[in-house]
């Protein structure tokens, strides 16, 4: 066992990045950022005031006219420069994520890579942002569309991917000529500070990118600021739908709102078991189950003998998962990001027991590899005999719990999935093309996996979501993001 060097050596006093300057918040309120594995405080994050949020928006608004006049090719070059800096700092950025979030170093490196890919795709903006035209819509009259930026966009970030999720949006916003204000999650804001430092080093003009720390008050201030043209949000459905989306509607803002999930992994009797098990391990227990694309319900189709053999194989593999500090590179699952998160998962386990599901693997008192406090640690758990009407089969647990269900055939499994209020990332494991197509065709899910446990779209595809998992029209990433961050202007011209 060897623990990699920690890049954060002292308690960081985090500042806001407004108008190209690092500004100390005057709110006087700070919250400790703790390493969830060691419980050491690694940062102090300010709870910025409404005035401070507004100052960031004003800086972004003032930077907008010049930035939008910067040719797309030049904006792309800024992103190329940023991309090089991100590569240079790849390992540091990854280790910071592990320190503030708790995920394993492999997972953090994966997050960093995904984030960089967003910058790479957005750097193709000269091609992505082109409009289209048609000659002679009437005699001597031509018509064309140009895509123009709108102004200032805001992002309210979640805690589960502190580096990557803001990058689903910000590179596309900047590339299209908009300016940006991000409010990182106060639970793990350091990754966004590191990113802003590199944005500063890349010489992206002052005010184009801004970071303002804070909690719910800062988020509301952002939503109520009339100069913000659109907001992107990733978090719970309750806040996403009832606060963010609603408020954006009231104030005329564009919105991409990604909410909760309850993802089903369907196992057909013809699945390649050896290849499926690792995919399920990463789906259910990767990032300690704190992904909106994590597997939650494992639906096994088939006769008793197949069911039992598959479940035993799965449970055996899960029971061997090494839990500990993610900077130890032998660790396969880190702690929950917070005590609240752990308590929430424990509550769901209690509910599962109370509702008579059978707990066949109990993660409540995990074996922790290394000498770390158990404050945020929890082991993987598996419930059997779960049905979609049970609380643990219905609600998002957002932790390392697998709820095992049975279905007599694919039709029943698809009906189960489609009866869920969520539709984020559902997958089928099968060797049958027919079954896979049927699943893909009928399942109500923004992202669909075929023999893939985490259905995360690449940067050049939109990140989907349906039903209570998504509110909005256009999605983050790829061409959808380019459209979200631009207005279509139609020109009809005739020359006399």
């Amino acid at each position: 066992m060897s623990v990699l060097n920690e890049p954060i050596k002292e308690v960081l006093e985090l500042k806001n990045y407004i108008g190209g300057r690092w500004v100390k918040s005057e709110s006087g309120q700070t919250v400790d950022v703790k390493n969830p594995a060691t419980q050491k405080t690694i940062g102090k994050v300010p709870m910025s005031s409404r005035d401070e949020v507004n100052a960031a928006v004003t800086a972004a608004k003032e930077a907008f006219p010049e930035w939008r006049r910067t040719p797309p090719l030049v904006r792309a070059r800024y992103l190329f420069r940023l991309r090089e800096l991100l590569e240079e700092h790849f390992e540091e950025l990854s280790r910071v994520q592990t320190m503030e979030h708790g995920k394993t170093i492999d997972e953090s490196r994966g997050e960093t890579r995904r984030g960089i890919e967003m910058v790479e795709v957005a750097a193709g903006i000269p091609s992505l942002m082109m409009g289209y035209n048609l000659e002679d819509i009437a005699s001597g009259i031509d018509e064309y569309v140009i895509y123009q930026p709108l102004g200032v966009f805001g992002h309210i970030a979640p805690f589960n991917f502190p580096f990557m999720v803001p990058l689903w949006f910000s590179p596309f916003a900047l590339a299209t000529g908009n300016t940006f204000v991000v409010k990182p999650s106060p639970r793990d804001p350091i990754s966004q500070v590191k990113l802003a430092e590199l944005i500063e080093e890349a010489d992206i003009p002052a005010g184009v990118y801004n970071v303002v720390h804070g909690g719910a008050d800062a988020a509301v201030a952002m939503l109520e600021n009339p100069d913000i043209k659109g907001v992107t949000f990733v978090g719970t459905t309750a806040i996403g739908r009832d606060v963010i989306y609603k408020k954006c509607g009231e104030t005329g803002k564009r919105a991409i709102v990604q909410g909760a999930a309850k993802n089903f992994m369907v196992i057909m009797p013809d699945a390649n078991v050896a290849a499926t098990i690792p995919a399920l391990l990463t789906s259910f227990f990767g990032c300690t189950g704190q992904r909106c694309l994590s597997g939650a319900n494992l639906v096994i189709i088939g006769e008793d003998a197949f069911y039992r053999k598959f479940l035993d194989t799965f449970a055996d593999a899960v029971s061997k998962i090494r839990v500990g500090y993610g900077l130890d590179d032998s660790i396969q699952m880190g702690p929950m990001q917070s005590v609240d998160g752990k308590e929430r998962v424990l509550g769901y386990i209690e509910k599962g027991i109370a509702e008579k599901a059978r707990l066949i693997l109990d993660g409540r008192t995990p074996k922790i590899n290394g000498d770390y406090p158990d404050t945020c640690f929890i082991g993987p758990s598996i419930f059997e005999n779960v049905t979609p009407d049970l609380t643990i089969g219905r609600e998002e647990i957002f932790g390392p719990v697998s709820s095992v269900m049975r279905a007599k055939d694919l039709d029943e499994a698809i009906k189960m999935i489609n009866s869920s209020r969520y539709g984020n990332g559902n997958a089928i494991f099968t060797s049958s093309g027919k079954a896979a197509r049927e699943f893909q065709y009928r399942v109500e899910s923004g992202n669909v996996g075929i023999n893939i446990g985490i259905t995360a779209p690449m940067a050049f595809f939109p990140f989907g979501g349906m039903k209570d998992s998504f509110f909005g029209v256009l999605h983050g990433q790829g061409k959808d993001a380019v459209r979200f961050f631009t207005e279509s202007k139609v020109v009809i011209q005739r020359w006399f």
Binding site: R109, R113, A279, G286, Q332
Partner: protein, 155 residues
């Protein structure tokens, strides 16, 4: 302890390559007539570290099974440290061949187990296997032709 994570396997690959660098650099001092070949192996090992790490860092993604891909026992591929540190006498060439065989077996197994990762990773491992096969042939040829004449210990 077995290796299960991609990070462990990549770190181990780096260690194998670094051990090889030390070994060949040390051997080159002793067999000066063939030092070009031996130092060439050491230089190649440095490139190998870059190639393997580039493949890993280039494709590692939060969506792949980085933490659950491998089941490798490093003890199977370990070379005795004393052999690596003191490549002396007629055994050194055999130690080199044995080291390359062990390394090739490690990469071969890693390639097999990493098929669920994106293609670049198993491909990089497989490239390392081929490279080791070539190297073993070269070493065996040097041994069989009576090259690698040992120089007297410097006084």
């Amino acid at each position: 302890m077995k290796f299960n994570t991609a990070s462990q396997v990549i770190s181990f690959a780096r260690k194998l390559e670094e051990d090889g660098i030390d070994f060949y650099e040390s051997m080159a001092k002793r067999y000066t007539e063939d030092s070009d070949i031996l130092l060439g192996f050491a230089r190649e090992n440095k490139k190998n570290i870059t190639r393997v790490e580039r493949a890993y860092y280039g494709v590692i993604s939060d969506a792949i099974e980085g933490c659950f891909t491998f089941d490798l026992d490093p003890e199977e591929f370990a070379i005795k440290p004393e052999d690596l540190q003191h490549p002396a006498g007629s055994n050194s060439i055999n130690t080199a061949i044995e080291m390359e065989s062990q390394t090739a077996r490690f990469y071969d197994k890693a390639a097999e187990q990493s098929k669920s990762l994106l293609a670049d990773v198993p491909r990089a491992f497989s490239t390392m296997v081929k490279l080791r096969d070539d190297r073993r042939k070269k070493l065996a040829s040097l041994r069989d032709t009576g090259n690698l004449a040992e120089q007297p210990e410097p006084r």
